[in-house]
């Protein structure tokens, strides 16, 4: 059981990297849970999955319905069932979307139930891949606990790596007990590769992989085609396979 969170500055292509990682790992004989924990992201689109309801919807359902339920309803078991209802079961992986953020009421109890439920669900998978915004929400609230590795996606810019630096500090201050942090440089061109490697060395980041700018990926993106359909021998997928190997997944 290994939990990997993928994050990075907006626009760096972290969701594309997450999608490609999930796509590659799912070809191996392992059970995978993909979690979309970024309200701005579109992991389901990247994977080519249509999602109707989210965990946020179910948490809201609990808040709306709680006074109407039979008084002795076991709410943990009810919410657990609701979470399973929104779990998209794909042929080789499952996908869970966290969805809408909390409203103005008190979410202490609902979130506390959710923590226990998520702990239980995660134990069922060999690998969990979480696509999360740079603010690390859901991780900070401990809805998803015990993340083993953090993978920060950066593009060819210095700012991307500075974000990585900030995320490292944030993870430390949140006391997330992450065992390892890696950086993946995405959309890398022959012109900026040496510079990125230099930046990473300066900031003492473990540059675990370099995903080259891939015409085919750009075309898929432009046409809105799911990256799950990218051929294994495309440049981006070859680079992804390399990352998976290096991380020992």
């Amino acid at each position: 059981m290994k939990i990997i969170a993928i994050t990075g500055k907006g626009g760096t292509g972290k969701t594309a990297v997450a999608g490609m990682l999930i796509r590659h790992i799912s070809t191996k004989n392992k059970t995978i849970l993909a979690i979309d924990a970024d309200p701005d992201s579109n992991l389901p689109d990247v994977l080519g999955v249509k999602v109707e309801k989210t965990i946020g919807d179910m948490r809201e359902f609990m808040l709306q319905e709680r006074d109407k339920l039979p008084p002795d309803t076991n709410k943990e078991s009810l919410l657990e069932s609701k979470v399973y209802e929104v779990l998209c079961e794909m042929p080789r992986y499952d996908l869970l979307v966290m969805g809408r953020p909390e409203g103005s009421g008190c979410y202490c109890f609902a979130n506390n139930l959710l923590r226990g439920i998520m702990d239980k669900i995660l134990k069922n998978y060999d690998i969990t891949v979480i696509d999360t915004a740079a603010g690390l929400e859901h991780l900070s609230r401990r809805i998803i606990r015990d993340v083993d590795e953090l993978l920060v996606v950066t593009d060819g810019s210095r700012r991307g790596l500075q974000t990585a630096e900030r995320i490292r500090e944030l993870a430390k201050s949140l006391d997330l007990k992450i065992k390892q942090m890696h950086v993946v440089a995405n959309k890398v061109t022959p012109q900026n590769q040496a510079q990125i490697e230099e930046y990473a060395r300066e900031l003492k980041m473990d540059l675990v992989g370099i995903v080259p700018f891939d015409e085919m990926l750009a075309k898929f993106d432009l046409e809105g085609r799911p990256l799950a359909e990218l051929p294994e021998d495309s440049r981006a997928m070859i680079a992804t396979a390399e990352i998976v190997k290096k991380m020992g997944l």
Partner: protein, 470 residues
């Protein structure tokens, strides 16, 4: 014992999920129908361990198919009674999840079961094996069960027919559950989930008082405390009754000292004015005393306007939260309005003089019928003047308190205090209830400044802190 079954049985399999890829069959669940039911029966009615199946068995089911599914158990024993049915029924979820390769979710008419292919490969062929294992666990774990039998149904028509009967049983059970009151139980539950931002707050949850966040009722407390007694929800033995009306219990007081770090030592669960329950900050609704009419107004989190006392929810919430006993403000959950003990020492519903329209609509069915039209909202009253006018015009029962105060002879009159926090307008003097400590007052709000008038008052103040507002 367990090796008579082709599967392992252990709590370690709890939370084991059967994925669609690995699933042999799906039973009941969101895309089909089913239920689980436990009934108490006479010892002579039951043949112990008997299993009946109505409909096709596992071995007759197609891989990947979905079927309706009902599980009915009858239990008997000297100590078995109807009231125990729900508690026993709930354990079906636990015990069935001990079975390797068998996933049981949810409860009652929402059950959802999956069996994985591995279990079938290892020799699971019949629901009889599942039922026998479950019955064995019931008897092992719940020693008061002397005899048990089981009927499982997979026939669609029979499931429908029996499900309709089961729903009637659940409804009757719910009616009994709703009739459970503070005096019927020996244990309340405490919650310290919010102590991170209100370190001295301790929520006391009783059958007649839901947590002020509205999320935790007495049954939730019981369920959580059972799973993790050291967790944020825990049992509080009631102890001796000190004040049945106010809701003061020796057990709760003892716990109050410990949980608040000595901040307070008495709690009256249903009282607004005397040793009131503290608030973390998560309350759905805040009650506020309006001395000018000697009544209590309520404002909920969703109301963005200004209450007749000139304050917004957020301002009052700031005063109420923080885990202190604040006289004059009280945080509650919406469901507390449905409690028969709702602020009963303070006059209950008769003391309620204002609430926002949306909140009123939400709980309309639970407001005493003769009060519904007499209770103003922001449409009828926006300040103290219009509030008093409306209350007078509608003959609100709060007026009885006014006449009583006016009729009281001078020498017996309680200390009079008049606080006019609203600028430019003041009510004719009405006294505070005897022995009532002062409510916290807003200083410096509004451009009319502060006017305080005390007559024949004894005031003892330990500490006053003035803070400059932002």
């Amino acid at each position: 014992m367990a090796n008579e079954f082709p599967f392992e049985i252990s709590p370690m399999f709890e939370g084991e999920r059967v994925r669609k890829d690995d699933m042999f069959v799906e039973l009941a669940g969101p895309k089909s129908r089913g239920f689980e039911l436990v009934r108490a029966a006479g010892v002579d009615e039951i043949e112990d361990g008997k299993f009946t199946l109505i409909g096709p068995d596992l071995s007759q089911m197609q891989e990947g198919s979905r079927h309706p599914y009902a599980m009915i158990y009858r239990v008997a024993g000297k100590l078995v009674e109807t009231d125990l049915e729900a508690i026993v029924e709930r354990r079906n979820h636990d015990f069935q999840n001990y079975i390797q390769g068998y996933m049981h979710l949810n409860q009652r008419y929402d059950v959802w079961v999956r069996i994985n292919k591995d279990a079938i490969k290892k020799g699971l062929t019949s629901f009889g094996q599942i039922a026998k294992a479950t019955m064995m666990l019931f008897k092992n774990e719940l020693s008061f069960i002397e005899k048990i039998d089981a009927t499982y149904i997979t026939d669609p028509d029979e499931v429908e027919k029996r499900r309709a009967e089961a729903i009637k049983i659940y409804e009757a059970r719910d009616a009994r559950t709703r009739g459970l009151h503070d005096e019927d139980v020996d244990v309340f539950y405490g919650c310290t989930l919010c102590q991170s931002f209100a370190p001295t707050n301790a929520c006391v949850v009783t059958p007649d008082r839901i947590s002020l966040c509205g999320a935790i009722n007495w049954f939730d407390g019981r369920a959580a405390a059972k799973v993790d007694p050291e967790g944020p929800q825990f049992a509080i033995p009631k102890g001796e009754v000190i004040d049945a009306i106010g809701g003061e219990y020796s057990g709760v007081n003892e716990k109050a000292v410990a949980l608040s770090g000595g901040e307070y030592s008495r709690i009256k669960i249903h009282s607004f004015f005397e040793y009131p329950h503290t608030s973390c900050g998560c309350f759905e609704v805040v009650g506020f005393y309006i001395p000018e009419v000697d009544g209590i107004g309520w404002v909920d989190r969703d109301f963005t306007g200004i209450a007749p006392n000139g304050l917004a929810f957020s301002t009052m919430a700031g005063q109420t939260g923080g885990g202190k006993q604040i006289i004059g403000f009280l945080g509650v959950g919406v469901n507390y309005f449905r409690s028969p003990k709702f602020i009963q020492p303070d006059g209950g519903w008769k003391r309620v003089v204002w609430m926002p329209k949306n909140l009123k609509e939400k709980i309309k069915a639970d407001i005493p019928p003769d009060l519904v039209d007499k209770l103003p909202t922001e449409e009828n009253a926006t300040d103290l003047k219009t509030l008093k006018e409306f209350l007078e015009k509608s003959q609100h029962p709060i007026m009885e308190r006014w006449t009583k105060e006016e009729a009281a002879p001078e020498e017996e009159a309680p200390p009079e205090a008049q606080a006019a926090a609203s600028p430019g307008w003041s009510m004719p003097s009405l006294s505070m209830p005897a022995g009532m400590p002062m409510m916290p007052m807003q200083f410096g709000s509004g451009d009319g400044g502060v006017k305080l008038k005390f007559k024949n008052a004894k005031i003892w103040i330990e500490r006053i802190v003035f803070k400059k507002g932002k």
